[in-house]
Symmetry: C2
């Protein structure tokens, strides 16, 4: 079915409030969920149905544990991941404006940060290079093993250009954990090369995969290495959990790094050259049946713009119905 974007936002906003968030938090969460929803990223409105995102009863004030001119470490104090990382981003932007660089980590949260491309995009729109990393409990194995060790450990990089920023946002796993949950709920199989069961056999059964482990995205050692690096950045570097140390279930870590390109080159030249780079990649010779070559983030931007222009968005009947139920509860 088709829904008005404004109506979807209204319902989503009510649903977020239903889960216990105040106006300011609701605005933040809504913005991040709509970013994902509008661009066809699966970290959107779907987060508001099923178990949803109830605010933790343990949530207290976000605390600054450590701070230098270039850095800060935040204790998320069991607040919603998106709210905590947004705070981290704001602090990082402030420091980067002053010094050209900032690094801000967060720990002690246990809920989703949403599509981390959102933060990279925001940072890049201010003219900075943004690197964002997110940790979560162990669901992904390493090369040579079949045991769940790492989170799905996404990384995102935002790079400003003269038009839309280039925003690269990838999980280091072959599938999102949420993909397993969705397939399981829908009674669907998963592809044969994305997950092991608990005995180390490749499985197409999402329920068995949830007891086993997801593979690194390239099913190989480079992907496993990248997943491990993100684990190090979102665990040890920020006081977050990692594998089974430091309470990984309730202590997810996140990291934001901001670099001002003017530390090295002029901001305008940088943006111009990134624009040239993007345009050149888009002009590359295409393989048969490839209609257009997209740079990271571009496909989602186009879909977003199209939906915002028309004011309408496609939504699964089921998703819409359930969202409405929560919003009107």
């Amino acid at each position: 079915m088709r829904v008005k974007v404004s109506e979807l936002k209204r319902l989503a906003s009510k649903a977020i409030k239903y889960y216990g968030y105040d106006d300011k938090e609701t605005k933040i969460i809504l913005d991040i969920l709509m970013y994902a929803q509008l661009r066809g990223n699966n970290q959107g409105i779907v987060k508001l149905i099923g178990k949803g995102i109830p605010k933790s009863g343990k949530a207290g004030k976000i605390k600054v544990l450590k701070q230098t001119k270039l850095s800060a470490l935040l204790d998320g104090n069991q607040n919603m991941g998106m709210v905590v990382v947004t705070r981290a981003m704001e602090i990082a932007l402030q420091k980067a404006r002053q010094h050209g660089f900032a690094i801000v980590g967060t720990n002690n949260t246990c809920s989703s940060t949403g599509a981390i491309g959102y933060y990279a995009d925001k940072i890049a729109k201010k003219g900075f290079i943004g690197l964002v990393f997110a940790g979560s409990p162990e669901t992904v194995t390493t090369h040579g093993s079949y045991e769940a060790l790492f989170g799905t450990n996404p990384l995102a990089v935002g790079i400003p250009s003269n038009k839309e920023p280039m925003v690269f946002d990838m999980a280091t796993s072959a599938m999102a954990y949420f993909g397993l949950v969705q397939a399981n709920t829908a009674g669907q199989k998963i592809p044969g090369d994305v997950a092991y069961d608990s005995k180390g056999k490749l499985t197409t059964d999402p329920a068995k995969a949830m007891e086993g482990a997801i593979l690194p995205f390239d099913r190989n050692y480079k992907g496993a290495g990248l997943a491990l690096i993100v684990e190090a950045l979102c665990g040890p570097l920020v006081g977050g959990g990692f594998i089974n140390y430091n309470n990984p279930r309730t202590n997810w870590g996140n990291l934001i790094i901001i670099i001002d390109p003017k530390l090295l080159v002029s901001k305008n030249t940088f943006k111009q050259n990134i624009t040239k780079l993007i345009n050149r990649v888009k002009r590359a010779k295409k393989q048969p049946r490839v209609k257009e070559i997209f740079v990271p983030g571009e496909r989602g931007n186009k879909l977003t713009q199209k939906r915002l222009r028309s004011g309408w968005i496609e939504a699964e009947n089921n998703l819409y119905r359930q969202l409405k139920k929560v919003a009107e509860a």
Copy 2:
């Protein structure tokens, strides 16, 4: 055949001098080549045979184009890539010691930086997190294309632990360009899924692949995205060439980023937790026929230590013979 490590070093040192480098440059290049050679990385002594690494007649003084408390941009002035990136690393280390962070870029070189894990390893051994990126002219395609656009664009990350650092060093391409050259010289085929010919067909012929393009390492869009990000960091961000802008053939760019973990957590806790992380990954349940799980850099470290302990190293007869010829020329 087996050669004394000391003898290989002596010959390599003479060969480097034969190519026109002074004592200081020779020491730098030798150290980087031996790092690769001892750990079984293919960016070692083999660089000294065939065309070798003659010092450019155009090489002048390395110049600092821009400098802030946190950053520097170097004009490599056609010096050897390894010499220029070593200088960049030294400057970055100095700044990181003072401020906890440094970013140093280089442009205007056109020769190999060697195994960039070398620099990441050095940085991590000083207790810092090191990120290293290296650009080179277009040999790698993007997702949906078969045209050579990006360099093989390696990235390396070094992370300190209580023992050896964890050093992750990967090309974002499915094969090193040098792998094509080697296969072509040896009259060997390449695997069927690493390169296109100039018409966009997968090829096992290295000569055809050299006229075509190498695939991203995962043969997919995530690898292509990472290759593009490295292209942006080693091109536009440092005034280096990219695709066919800014003289990519003679203007390779490189980037070093150093982060002191103590910006966020105590250095000791960080190292201890990285050590725990490494040990835990090594204890992961193994797949059948997997004897040991290695963390990034570990296999190379073990091989290096074994060779240094015994004082002997295996070397191809042909490599040794040709190296000797250059050294004694």
